[in-house]
């Protein structure tokens, strides 16, 4: 637990996460439905979705908060991980699809394709799909990062390119010829690893898996940022040329952390898809990636746990607003971003830190008095 030394926010966050991961399943499965304490399966799935968003936000905070790379395209890595999982889930449908073809997913039958495209082979095996969930976003990030960071593309230019990356992928995935279900994406999933996706227990299982993934992802990022490499990363964020002159290969450090972050985003996407039951090209939408940066900004940059808070708070707000005042959501999001930038430049985590410091400060004063 040396990783969490001095990380009060992280300790609190992981404690809460553990509590939620234990209590919510109990309240869903063991408490009868009529009881006021019962947590509906809908809520469990909603919370599970938030947790995958939180993991995605942690991945963004790692590269934005600690390395200074403002990625406006992390949604692309999330969506690619989601598609890899979606392909596995599609293959699991087997002959239970509308057209009843034992091999081909419905959309391929509909398009009159005779056989599986080459890249769909092997996705009926979970281990391969699970590997691809990390490898595909990782490989894309590696190639992209290698080209961009070696050419020293930074700042706004890099942000714009990441935005273009996700937009280009969105347009490509909209095409039926790509072989990923075009406009409709992949959906109508039946089961995962033999468990029925509609069953409460499977939903709870996915929720717990999301919580575990978030905790492990958080600890992994924490490990990186507390290592010497993490200190080099912050140094790159603050004075990149100086880091080069003391002998670090800045481009390689960037590519390594960037690729790791993309793989984390892929895992988040893979846990997201079975819970929401669909993946379509809309997930590549540039707006998603921008919204994601807002979560991190609201939660507080360069704290990691702030990203978790931000993702959950903003998405809870989104769920509430889109239900209560559907028209107002975008205004609320925009307003939130403006308010946070003006009054809470350190985000919610900054507020939290200020409060604990003030309390610590007054306690110290009390001791001297």
């Amino acid at each position: 637990m040396a990783l969490l030394k001095g990380d009060t926010g992280g300790q609190v966050m992981l404690g809460l996460l553990l509590a939620v991961a234990v209590v919510v399943p109990v309240l869903n499965l063991a408490v009868p439905e009529g009881s006021p304490l019962h947590v509906s399966t809908y809520t469990v799935t909603l919370l599970g979705k938030y947790l995958t968003y939180a993991l995605l936000a942690v991945a963004v905070d790692l590269v934005w908060g600690y390395l200074g790379i403002l990625s406006l395209g992390h949604g692309a890595f999330f969506a690619l991980g989601g598609y890899a999982m979606g392909m596995y889930l599609m293959r699991q449908i087997g002959d239970r699809g509308v057209y009843g073809d034992p091999i081909l997913p419905d959309f391929m039958v509909f398009l009159d394709w005779q056989s599986l495209p080459w890249f769909w082979h092997g996705f009926d095996m979970f281990w391969l799909a699970a590997l691809m969930v990390m490898l595909v976003p990782g490989a894309l990030a590696f190639v992209f990062g290698w080209l961009a960071f070696r050419s020293r593309v930074t700042g706004v230019y890099l942000s714009i390119i990441t935005q273009a990356l996700t937009y280009a992928l969105m347009l490509a995935f909209f095409r039926n010829e790509m072989g990923f279900g075009g406009n409709n994406g992949l959906t109508d999933f039946k089961d995962i690893l033999g468990f029925d996706l509609q069953a409460d227990s499977t939903r709870v299982g996915l929720f717990v898996a999301s919580a575990v993934a978030l905790a492990l992802g958080y600890l992994a990022c924490r490990w990186i940022v507390t290592s010497k490499l993490g200190r080099v990363a912050v140094a790159i964020r603050d004075a990149e040329p100086r880091v080069r002159f003391i002998g670090y290969r800045v481009d390689r450090v960037k590519v390594a952390i960037w690729t790791f972050s993309a793989m984390l985003a892929g895992i988040a996407g893979a846990l997201y898809v079975p819970q929401v039951g669909i993946i379509n090209p809309g997930e590549f939408s540039p707006l998603n990636s921008i919204e994601l940066v807002v979560w991190v900004a609201v939660g507080g940059r360069a704290t990691l746990y702030g990203a978790v808070i931000g993702a959950i708070v903003v998405n809870y707000g989104k769920t509430y607003f889109t239900g209560a005042f559907p028209e107002a959501w975008l205004f609320a999001l925009g307003g939130l971003f403006v308010l946070v930038t003006l009054f809470l430049p350190q985000g919610i985590a900054g507020l939290f830190r200020q409060l604990t410091r003030r309390r610590g400060g007054s306690a110290a004063e009390g001791a001297t008095a």
Binding site: S227, K228, L229, A239, R242, G247, Y248, R252, A256
Partner: protein, 299 residues
């Protein structure tokens, strides 16, 4: 006379490649690639390069030219530094002092000329981290320390070590490394500030920290750009002491405006003017040189 032939190599070192037709340029490029003294040198790792100072100088700059938008920042500059020497470089603003350092450290690429570290290592073929790795350290004019790291961490990051990604991820401080950091903290007088964020230091302290970072790299050649700007007289004396103590083991090039400071440390002084060397010699010789008096000291 045909420009291509056995003397193609000499022609390649002429300033202006655009004197040649594209075919001639391609031929010269081909010859450059096939030079037998440089066979497969793209496969030679920077750290495998052996520094050779058997002829005396550790740094050779020859016939160097750089211009920015038509302004000649460096104009046919020849400059040599002996191994173990402490050299001061003076000159008015725009004389090309900082540009020269930028070229040595790989930040700026010259239009023509050669820069060698020892007799063998061509610095123009190396990247900034490679140049740092073979032993050239630099202190910037404006102190750039890592503001959000503590003083201790600043020194730790600069420390000579395996700086590849995975080694850095797994790096743990050894006792010897910790001792070395403590030693440098003592040398730069920041021992009691070790845990402070570097951003909170005074200007003079940041200068010291940057010199400390340079020492942590344990370079063979130190390039020090205006080390005493913003320092009190007392601090200046300590800086002078420190720099003088480095000579012998390290070669040091100091760029400085403060003449008192230069006088207190320099054995040899080089005066730069409009991108080339105006005068070189002891402080007294240089100060009595009428050209120098006219352009610089006479002001």
């Amino acid at each position: 006379m045909s420009p291509v032939g056995d003397n193609g190599r000499d022609l390649l070192h002429r300033d202006r490649a655009f004197d040649f037709s594209p075919q001639q340029q391609a031929w010269l490029q081909f010859k450059e690639t096939m030079r037998r003294d440089r066979t497969f040198d793209f496969m030679v790792k920077a750290k495998d390069l052996k520094l050779d100072v058997s002829h005396g100088p550790i740094l050779y700059i020859e016939d160097l030219n750089v211009s920015f938008d038509g302004f000649k920042a460096i104009d046919h500059l020849n400059f040599y530094v002996d191994a173990g020497e402490l050299r001061c470089v003076i000159g008015a603003n725009g004389a090309g002092k900082t540009t020269m350092m930028d070229i040595i450290t790989g930040k700026t690429r010259p239009d023509s000329g050669s820069v060698y570290f020892g007799q063998r290592i061509d610095l123009l073929r190396l990247s900034e981290p490679e140049i740092a790795e073979i032993g050239i350290g630099r202190k910037f004019q404006k102190p750039t320390v890592f503001e959000h790291h503590t003083v201790f961490e600043n020194l730790e990051l600069a420390m000579a070590a395996d700086k590849r990604v995975f080694s850095t991820l797994l790096a743990r401080l050894t006792g010897a490394q910790r001792d070395r950091i403590d030693e440098v903290l003592g040398m730069i007088g920041l021992a009691e500030h070790a845990k402070r964020e570097a951003g909170a230091l005074s200007h003079g302290q940041k200068q010291w920290l940057e010199i400390g970072m340079l020492l942590m790299q344990d370079p063979l050649l130190l390039l020090v750009d205006e080390p005493v700007a913003g320092m009190t007289h007392q601090e200046m004396d300590r800086t002078a002491e420190l720099l003088v103590s480095l000579q012998g083991k390290h070669s040091v090039v100091v760029v400085e405006h403060d003449m008192d400071f230069v006088r207190s440390i320099a054995r040899r002084v080089t005066v730069l003017h409009q991108g080339s060397v105006l005068a070189e010699g002891s402080m007294d010789q240089v100060q009595n040189d009428p050209r120098v008096v006219e352009v610089y000291l006479g002001e």
